[in-house]
């Protein structure tokens, strides 16, 4: 049996998951990364994307946006502003988020426009990935 690490997924309102996982795939702001047992301690911000936790009970996937992940050798805690199991994601929910991001992008000042537009794109990718 592979070594495991403690995986916690927390949203502001409640704890969504707390399991022993063998690996956790995280959509980091600078690219995806996979945390396994013994990972160097890292803190990364999240971009909107799919978080995948693989444990003995199977694979769980969540759509997450906004927040950060704290990785240490023995555990990963992901603090996401919004986190929803992938099969509960609805088109309406994504549309709302995309509209919000678009509005932010169009009103953003030049310096922030790039990151705001990147956010819109991330949401679009997320929509394709979840099949809506």
């Amino acid at each position: 049996m592979a070594n495991t690490l403690q995986f916690d997924l927390v949203s502001p309102e409640r704890r969504l998951a707390s399991v022993q996982a063998t690996e956790v795939q995280i959509p980091g702001a600078d690219g995806d990364l996979t945390a396994m047992e013994g990972h160097a301690p890292t803190i990364t911000t999240l971009r909107p994307g799919i978080l995948k936790a693989i444990s003995a009970e199977g694979t769980k996937t969540y759509a997450v946006t906004g927040g950060f992940a704290e990785i240490s050798a023995s555990g990963v805690s992901v603090l996401a502003e919004r986190a929803v199991p992938v099969d509960e994601v609805t088109t309406a929910m994504l549309d709302e988020l995309i509209a919000e991001a678009r509005a932010a992008a169009s009103s953003a000042v030049a310096a922030n426009r790039d990151s705001a537009e990147k956010l819109v794109n991330d949401f679009m990718v997320l929509r394709t990935a979840t099949g809506h």
Binding site: D8, V10, S11, P12, E13, R14, R15, G28, A29, D30, L33, A40, P41, T42, I43, T44, T45, G66, G67, F68, E70, S72, S77, L79, E81
Partner: protein, 289 residues
């Protein structure tokens, strides 16, 4: 001396009042449990957030390029007070204690020659502060329609607070709310959120790699941390409100019970007196014959 009929009516009305306060107490107890559960469920997020922010703030905070949300604007001339109260009354001293703390703070700041702006959350505090500080109000958040406080509500308040900060409307922001300790004890608290203060800083046990850079993460997380603090305050407040209402209504129920007992005794005495009087009249009438 009230007549027997008056007393009877009075007892009836106090009994009705007791029923109402009893019902309110039970409703508050149920809501309190839900509010407490929500507060407990939100705790892991807030704790981790504060922990990470404390670490980040300790390493980046002192440097030149620290974000303004953390370092402040360099002055403290204009203060924003976010006063959080309930939307409803009948909850004992809950609203008044917050308002009293906020009022004292406002007077203190004004006396020191600072400018004060007030943002109210919940209409009870707004009503109580209007007379003295009505001219300082810059906004109001209405939560009347909100059944359960969600993160969305906190986010909306945070957005308002942050956009005002970016527009340079104030230098320091403080939250006023009641911290929930127990059903009978709520502590009015003033918490500074901008520039951000993170207590229990730097347990720097692990050295983290940061991706992207520490500064970028900090800039990304600070607004979220503000929203989280507001959310925590809202939840604490909600739990405190129900706790305060519960104990206030418990007292009211008990007082109504006492009052009923007193009135019943009075009623019985008067009735007895009336009977005695009639008997005396009959007897003395018979003797006169």
């Amino acid at each position: 001396m009230p007549s027997l009929k008056d007393l009877k009516n009075r007892i009836g009305s106090v009994k009705n009042t007791r029923k109402i306060t009893k019902a309110m107490q039970m409703v508050a107890a149920a809501k309190l449990r839900r509010a407490q559960d929500a507060a407990v469920a939100a705790r892991p997020y807030a704790e981790r957030m504060t922990g990470v922010m404390a670490g980040l703030a300790a390493s980046v905070g002192k440097s030149e390029g620290a974000p303004r949300l953390l370092a402040g604007t360099g002055t403290d001339k204009v203060h924003l007070m976010v006063v959080m109260t309930a939307e409803r009354g009948l909850c004992g001293g809950f609203n008044s204690t917050i308002v009293r703390l906020a009022r004292a703070k406002a007077h203190e700041l004004l006396a020191a020659g600072k400018t004060v702006k007030i943002l109210t959350v919940g209409k009870k505090g707004r009503e109580q502060l209007r007379r003295d500080f009505g001219h300082l109000f810059i906004g109001h958040v209405d939560l009347t329609e909100v059944k359960r406080v969600g993160y969305v509500n906190a986010l909306a308040i945070a957005k308002d607070v942050l956009s005002r900060f970016e527009a340079g409307e104030y230098d320091v922001a403080t939250l006023f709310f009641n911290r929930f300790q127990s059903v009978i004890s709520q502590v009015p608290t003033a918490q500074q959120i901008i520039p951000a203060v993170f207590e229990g800083a730097a347990q720097a046990s692990t050295v983290y790699d940061y991706e992207p850079s520490e500064e970028e993460i900090l800039a990304d997380l600070l607004p979220r941390a503000v929203a989280t603090q507001i959310f925590t305050a809202l939840l604490e407040n909600a739990a405190s409100e129900q706790g305060a209402r519960m104990s206030a209504m418990d007292n009211a129920t008990r007082n109504a019970g006492d009052m009923i007992n007193r009135l019943t005794i009075q009623y019985n005495r008067s009735r007895q007196a009336a009977i005695t009087k009639e008997l005396i009249e009959i007897i003395s009438g018979a003797e006169a014959l």
